[in-house]
């Protein structure tokens, strides 16, 4: 799941300076699940902005609407009429959702209310941990299901480096060394040969904007005028 966290209120206020009527657009997808951009947070942000700006003697009005997922155009369609009276939109979706919202309403300034932080797992209520860098070339099969790109501070593919201290990362003593974990898991599974051979330089797949058209839909998007 994509994990996001709310920007600080001060930052959001600074972005909204000069706009009097703002629609907070929530997202029922990932950011809702990670307690950052669901219905409740939309309501919260409306309350926070209204009260806080009232205190600053600014004429301001905020309302909220939460869509199923901001990253799908057909879910955004329901906003077409709703957004009309607003000066600006504040998106509580991830970076992708915010961009699709901005793309759909090019004449409306769209601001992000969240910082999209990583692709991660839900450890417990309100506790998330990064797991994936979406590098587009998954090596988890080789590394025993532990991603060296996301979890090793240096992203080494032939680790561990010389630095682990008490099995923890030299960069952050609270984080276990990913490569020691990889070694131990593979050893326990009898698959150490995976990391005894050299992992060659990677062909990075994430260096240009990614687009993906699934094979079954190839014809659907074929140029009509052919």
């Amino acid at each position: 799941m994509i994990i996001a966290e709310k920007k600080q209120l001060e930052e959001i206020k600074a972005m909204l300076q000069g706009y009097r009527k703002v629609l907070n657009v929530g997202c029922g997808g990932c950011t809702s699940v990670c307690l950052a951009g669901g219905l409740k947070e939309v309501e919260d942000l409306c309350t926070q902005l209204t009260i806080s700006l009232e205190g600053d003697r600014v004429v301001f009005e905020a309302e909220g609407y939460t869509v199923e997922r901001q990253c799908e155009p057909h879910f955004l369609a329901q906003l077409d009429e709703i957004v009309k009276p607003y000066d600006a939109l504040l998106s509580l979706g991830c970076g992708a959702g915010t961009q699709l919202l901005a793309e759909r309403y090019p004449d409306k300034p769209v601001f992000p209310a969240l910082n999209t932080v990583f692709i991660g797992v839900n450890r417990d209520i309100g506790w998330y941990e990064e797991r994936c860098k979406s590098c587009g070339d998954c090596v988890l099969g080789m590394t025993g299901g532990i991603c060296p790109n996301a979890l090793c501070a240096k992203g080494l593919l032939n680790g561990p480096c010389g630095g682990p201290k008490d099995d923890h990362c030299e960069v952050n003593a609270e984080v276990p060394c990913a490569w020691i974990r990889i070694y131990e898991r593979l050893k326990a599974q009898g698959r150490l040969e995976n990391i005894l051979t050299i992992c060659p330089a990677r062909e990075w797949q994430d260096q240009v904007q990614g687009t993906l058209i699934l094979q079954p839909y190839r014809d659907r998007y074929a140029k009509k005028d052919k």
């Binding site: 209120l9 001060e10 309350t47 806080s52 417990d124 506790w127």
Partner: protein
Amino acid sequence: MFELARGPLVWVAATVFLVGIALRIVELFLLTKKRERIQWPTHGITTDSRAERKLKPILAFRHSLIGKHPVMAIVSGIFHACLFAAPIFAMGHTLLLRQSWGISLWSLSSPVVDILNIIVLLGVLFMLVRRIAVPRVRAVSSVKDLLFLFIVAAPYLTGFLAYHQWFEYRAILILHMLAGELMLMAIPFTRLGHMVIFFFFRGLVGSEHSIVRGSRVWSA
């Protein structure tokens, strides 16, 4: 009949109620035995900004039941309070307790209990009207719900009649005792059991909506 309702049936009802509640509590403890937290976070903890800290109480209020559904919260709160207070502090009940077990409870004056009683009945009426008239409540209601409302209302209604000695006092009194016993017995096994579940799920089980920080996990 009077002796039966006053004697053995009280014991049966009290036993069923207490044992039933105890079993429910044990069951709930067993079903939430697991604690998923194997480790504690050591880093990455975020903090609120100053402006956010200042607004926190307001948000907390808005998220509370009273902030979200003020009418329902107030009616429900008063209703539930009276539901407990009226029978426990009723003069007649405390007298009975003193007679049989020599326990002396603080009691409210009869007119006050009478008012509490009326509030409970009005509460039941509110719920009844809500159940029938509000479409969304109606959508999740069945005849069963009316039955439970009746089970709750019956002891209070008969109590009210008995206190005012309307109709035939002795018959009403018997009905009052039977109705009370029925309600007691129904609590552990029906939706009236939310009395126990509430404390578990909003307290001991960890969730976004826990009132206090619980760490138990609902293993289902």
